[in-house]
C-alpha cells in the first residue's frame, strides 16, 4: 500500500505527497496538463521545446544556472513531454527541499525565457530530432503511425514537432504558450521521499501558493473521425532487416476496456512462454516481437511489433501475427495466461514503487488525469476481475472489428527532405 496525502494550496494548486524515508532525498515533480495534442497545427513541437526552455534560467536564477545550482546542491533534474502532458522532476537532498521548491517555482512565477536561450534550445531540439527520429532506425514510427491513426485531432503530429515550426518560433509564441498553459490550475505538484508532510505543505504554500492563475479556458475537446478502412503502407528506412507493425486505435487510458487490453497485451507477449514469443521468436521468424498498449487521454494505441530475422520475409510473419490476434478475438485467453499476466503485473508494481522518482511520476499521472491518487493502490486489483467472456468481447470489439494501420518497414534510402 502506498500512503499519500493531498492538499490544495490557496491558489487552487493541487499538492500530492508521499513520505518514503528510505533515503535522505526528496523528489519534486511538477506535471502540467498540456502536451503536443493541445498545440496549433502550424505551431507543432512547442510543448516539447518549452520543456527545454524551463531549464534555462528564470527571474532570480541567472541564465544557465538552473542545473548549476541544482547539481552543486546535490540535486539532479529531468523532464519529458507526451501527447497529453509535460512532466518535470528534480531531486534534492531532503535538507534542501526549500532550495528545490525555490528553483522550480521561480520559473513559474514569471515568464522565464529569453531570446538567446530560445535560439540555442531550438538548435538542441533539432539535433534531438535528428538523433531520436531522423537518424535512428525506425525513428519515424511515431510520425508514420499517428498521422494515419488520428487524421483529424492533435494526436496526428509527432511530439517533437515539425522542423519548420521549431525554427520559426518567436519569443512571443513561447510567452503566449506559457501564459495559457503554465498556470496553477493546470498543474499537479507531487513531492515524495524523505519529507515531513506539514513542512512540505508550508513550503509549497510559500513558493507555489502565490503564483498567478490564468483565466483562459483550455480547449480539451477531442474530435476524431472513424478509421474508415484498414490501410497498409510500405516505408523505406535506413535499415538492413525489415519489420512489420500493426496499430489499432483503442479506448482511452483508465477505462475497463483499457485494462482488459493491457491484460491481453501482457498475456500475449510477456515472457518466453507467451504466444507471441513462441510463434514468432522461438520459431525462428523474428528476433523480437511483442504487443504493447500506449495509454493516452482520449484514445490509446495497441501496437504489435515484429522485427524479422535475417532471411525471413514480411509474409512469413504477417499470417502468424493475424492468426494470433484473430484467435484472441474469437477464443479469448486461457485461464493460465490470465493468471500469468496478473502475476507479472503484480511483481512489476512493487518494483515501480520502490523508486521515489517513479512513485512521484505515477501519483502525478493519476491525479492529473483521473483526480484519484489511490489508483496506484487499486490498479493491480482491476486486472483480477476480468473473466474470459469479457476479454473475448473486448478483443473482438477493438481488434477484430476495428480498422487498423499496418506499416511494413523495408530497407531503402530514407529521404533527407524532412
Amino acid at each position: 500500500m502506498v500512503e499519500f496525502r493531498e492538499h490544495i494550496l490557496s491558489n487552487g494548486l493541487r499538492l500530492v505527497m508521499s513520505r518514503q524515508a528510505a533515503i535522505p532525498n526528496v523528489i519534486i515533480n511538477t506535471s502540467f496538463h498540456v502536451g503536443s495534442r493541445n498545440e496549433e497545427p502550424d505551431k507543432t513541437g512547442i510543448s516539447h521545446l518549452f520543456e527545454h526552455l524551463m531549464f534555462t534560467g528564470s527571474k532570480n536564477v541567472p541564465q544557465g544556472m538552473f542545473d548549476e545550482i541544482l547539481n552543486s546542491n546535490g540535486g539532479e533534474s529531468n523532464a519529458f513531454t507526451t501527447q497529453d502532458y509535460t512532466s518535470y522532476y528534480l531531486s534534492v537532498p531532503s535538507s534542501r527541499i526549500e532550495l528545490g521548491m525555490w528553483l522550480d517555482s521561480d520559473r513559474l512565477a514569471e515568464f522565464p525565457v529569453n531570446k538567446e536561450s530560445l535560439e540555442i534550445q531550438k538548435k538542441v531540439v533539432l539535433e534531438e530530432k535528428k538523433q531520436v527520429h531522423d537518424n535512428a532506425p525506425f525513428g519515424s514510427l511515431e510520425l508514420e503511425s499517428f498521422k494515419r491513426l488520428f487524421p483529424k485531432s492533435g494526436y496526428r503530429w509527432p511530439i517533437i514537432g515539425e522542423e519548420k515550426h521549431i525554427k520559426n518560433f518567436k519569443l512571443s509564441d513561447i510567452k503566449e504558450f506559457f501564459e495559457r498553459f503554465y498556470i496553477p490550475s493546470n498543474l499537479v505538484l507531487t513531492v515524495t521521499g524523505d519529507i515531513d508532510y506539514d513542512e512540505a505543505i508550508k513550503l509549497a504554500e510559500k513558493y507555489y501558493g502565490d503564483i498567478r492563475n490564468g483565466h483562459a479556458a483550455i480547449d480539451r475537446t477531442y474530435d476524431e473521425v472513424p478509421i474508415e478502412k484498414s490501410t497498409e503502407e510500405t516505408i523505406k528506412d535506413n535499415i538492413t532487416l525489415p519489420a512489420r507493425f500493426l496499430f489499432y486505435r483503442v479506448s482511452e487510458a483508465g477505462t475497463d476496456d483499457y485494462y482488459i487490453l493491457r491484460l491481453i497485451s501482457a498475456a500475449l507477449s510477456s515472457g518466453e512462454s507467451s504466444r507471441i514469443y513462441r510463434a514468432l521468436v522461438s520459431s525462428g521468424i523474428s528476433s523480437e516481437a511483442y504487443t504493447y498498449l500506449s495509454g493516452m487521454e482520449k484514445a490509446s494505441v495497441f501496437t504489435f511489433n515484429c522485427f524479422l530475422n535475417e532471411g525471413k520475409t514480411l509474409d512469413d510473419a504477417a499470417g502468424i501475427m493475424d492468426d494470433i490476434l484473430n484467435d484472441v478475438s474469437e477464443n479469448g485467453l486461457k485461464e493460465e495466461e490470465i493468471v500469468k499476466s496478473v502475476n507479472k503485473v503484480e511483481t512489476s508494481y512493487y518494483f515501480r514503487i520502490q523508486s521515489s522518482m517513479r512513485l512521484a511520476d505515477s501519483l502525478a499521472y493519476y491525479k492529473l488525469f483521473f483526480n484519484d491518487c489511490d489508483m496506484i493502490n487499486k490498479e493491480t486489483g482491476r486486472y483480477k476481475i476480468f473473466d474470459n467472456d469479457i476479454i473475448k468481447r473486448t478483443a473482438g470489439k477493438y481488434i477484430k472489428n476495428n480498422r487498423r494501420v499496418t506499416l511494413n518497414y523495408v530497407p531503402g534510402r530514407k529521404g533527407r527532405s524532412h
Partner: protein, 450 residues
C-alpha cells in the same frame, strides 16, 4: 508575495551508509551476500559468474560465446525443457534477465516473496544443470545474429564499436561481448558446454540475494544445489600493453546519416587502480553530469548536440576513457576542436574551488539515489567482489571524494587526459566527415565494423 530574490540557505546533507549486508560462505567456497529489505514483499537473486567475453579470446575467436552461454541458461536443464522453464517463470510472475559483459556473466531473477523458494530452486538448477539443447541453441543464435545485423544500422553503435576495436586491438577486450554475425554463426553446442563446464563452477560464482527472504532456507537450498565443486579453472592471464595504439581518425561509412556519431578517447585505467576515485571524480566534472564542461560547451553554449558525455570505462584488467556524442555533421570538426580544447583546459588550468565543491556536492547528494532499490545495492556489492575492490569501498566513497583537492584534479587530468593519443572514430557521411576531420590526423575509412 513571497520574496524570491534570495536563494534559500542550504542545509547539511545527511551522511548515508551503504546498507548492511551479510556474507555467507557455502561449504564449497561459494560466496553468498544477503541484503535484507522487507519494505516490499519481493525478492531478487543475482548470480554472477566471474567470466565474461574476456574468456572468448581463449576460445578460438568465438566472440559472443559467453553471451550465448548465459542467454542459453533458461533453455533446458537435465530435468526440464525450455518450455517447462518458461512456463514456470511466467506463471510465477517472475522477471528474469541473463547475459554477459566483458568480465562477468549473470542471471538475475525477481519475484514475489511467496514464490521465491520455488524460483530460487529453478534458477539454481539453470546455473548447475543446463544442457544447452541443440535446437534451442540454433534458434538463439539466429535471433542474436539478426539483432547484431540490425545494430549495424545505428551510428552510435558503429562509432563505439570501431573505437573499442581499435583501442583494444589484439587483446581480450577487442571484441563485442555480444559477438558479431559471423562469429556467433560459428559457435557450437560443444563450445557452449565447454564454456559452462570451465566457468560455471562454484568457486567462480557469487550470489547476491536482496529483499524479503528466509536466509536459513536459502542457505539450505543453496548447499544442496551447489554441493559439487567444478574442475579447477586454469587462470587465463594476458599481459595488456602499456600504451595506446596509434592515434588517428577513423570514419565509418554511413552515407544516409543525418548526424555524425562521434566516439573519441584513448586508454584509461582498470577498475582496481588506486586512482579509480580520482578519475571518476574528474570525469563527473568533465563530462559525467548535465552541467559538466563537455555537455555545457557542446549542448548548452553551442547547440551542436542533444547531449554529450564522457566516461572512464574500467574493466577488470584494462580500461578506456572516451567522449561520446552525436553532433550536427557540418560542425563535426568544430565539436572535436572544442573537446580537445576542454581536455587541455582541464590539464593546464586549475579548477576553481567552487567548481570542485559543486561536483563533490553533486556526487554526495545523488549517491543515496543509487542505493534506493535493492537491485542497485546487490549490483554494487557483487561488483566489488568481482573486481576485487575494497569491501568498504562504498563506506569510504563519499569521504574519499570530499578529500580531493584542486591539485589532485590537475594532476589527474595531466596524467589521464592525453590529447596527443586520441583515437577519433566517427560514423556518418564519409564525404562530409573527411573534410571535417582530416585536420586531426591520418584518416582511415572503414566500410564495415567487425
Amino acid at each position: 508575495m513571497t520574496d524570491r530574490s534570495k536563494m534559500p540557505v542550504s542545509g547539511f546533507m545527511k551522511d548515508v551508509q551503504f546498507p548492511e549486508y551479510r556474507e555467507h560462505v557455502l561449504a564449497n567456497g561459494m560466496k553468498v551476500f544477503f541484503v535484507k529489505d522487507d519494505k516490499f514483499p519481493v525478492t531478487t537473486c543475482r548470480f554472477l559468474v566471474k567470466s565474461g567475453s574476456y574468456f572468448d579470446f581463449f576460445s578460438n575467436g568465438r566472440a559472443g560465446l559467453a553471451t550465448v552461454t548465459a542467454e542459453m541458461l533458461n533453455r533446458g536443464t537435465r530435468g526440464k525443457t525450455y518450455n517447462k522453464i518458461a512456463e514456470t517463470i511466467d506463471y510465477n510472475g517472475a522477471l528474469m534477465s541473463n547475459g554477459a559483459g566483458y568480465d562477468a556473466s549473470f542471471l538475475s531473477l525477481s519475484c514475489l516473496k511467496k514464490n521465491f523458494t520455488d524460483m530460487f530452486g529453478l534458477v539454481s538448477e539453470m546455473m548447475t544443470e543446463s544442457v544447452f539443447p541443440e535446437e534451442e541453441l540454433s534458434q538463439k543464435k539466429s535471433q542474436l545474429i539478426s539483432s547484431l545485423i540490425s545494430l549495424q544500422d545505428e551510428g552510435a553503435y558503429l562509432a563505439e564499436r570501431a573505437f573499442l576495436s581499435i583501442l583494444y586491438r589484439g587483446t581480450p577486450y577487442e571484441m563485442d561481448p555480444d559477438g558479431y554475425p559471423d562469429s556467433v554463426k560459428g559457435i557450437t553446442r560443444d563450445d557452449v558446454t565447454a564454456f559452462a563446464r570451465e566457468n560455471y563452477t562454484s568457486e567462480n560464482m557469487i550470489l547476491g540475494i536482496v529483499g524479503d527472504f528466509d536466509e536459513k532456507e536459502i542457505i539450505k537450498s543453496a548447499e544442496n544445489k551447489f554441493s559439487r565443486n567444478g574442475d579447477d579453472k586454469s587462470v587465463r592471464r594476458y599481459e595488456f600493453p602499456n600504451k595506446s595504439p596509434k592515434p588517428g581518425v577513423y570514419i565509418i561509412k554511413k552515407k544516409d546519416a543525418f548526424q555524425a556519431s562521434l566516439q573519441i578517447g584513448h586508454a584509461g585505467i582498470k577498475r582496481g587502480h588506486p586512482d579509480y576515485i580520482k578519475t571518476h571524480f574528474l570525469n563527473t566534472l568533465f563530462g559525467g553530469m548535465f552541467t559538466s564542461r563537455i555537455n555545457k560547451n557542446l549542448r548548452e553554449v553551442n547547440g551542436l548536440t542533444y547531449g554529450a558525455r564522457t566516461s572512464f570505462n574500467c574493466k577488470k584488467y584494462a580500461g578506456d576513457f572516451s567522449i561520446e556524442t552525436e553532433v550536427n555533421e557540418d560542425k563535426t570538426g568544430f565539436a572535436v576542436e572544442e573537446i580537445i580544447k576542454e581536455m587541455n583546459l582541464m590539464r593546464d588550468v586549475p579548477v576553481q574551488e567552487e567548481e570542485l565543491t559543486s561536483a563533490k556536492n553533486y556526487i554526495t547528494g545523488n549517491f543515496p539515489l543509487q542505493l534506493e532499490t535493492s537491485n542497485n545495492v546487490a549490483g554494487k556489492l557483487l561488483s566489488l567482489e568481482l573486481y576485487g575492490a575494497d569491501r568498504d569501498f562504498y563506506n569510504h566513497y563519499i569521504s574519499s571524494v570530499n578529500a580531493l583537492t584542486v591539485d589532485d584534479i590537475t594532476e589527474t587530468a595531466q596524467k589521464y587526459f592525453r590529447p596527443e593519443e586520441l583515437i577519433i572514430t566517427a560514423a556518418g557521411n564519409p564525404g562530409i566527415l573527411k573534410k571535417q576531420l582530416g585536420k586531426f590526423g591520418v584518416t582511415e575509412i572503414i566500410d564495415k565494423v567487425k
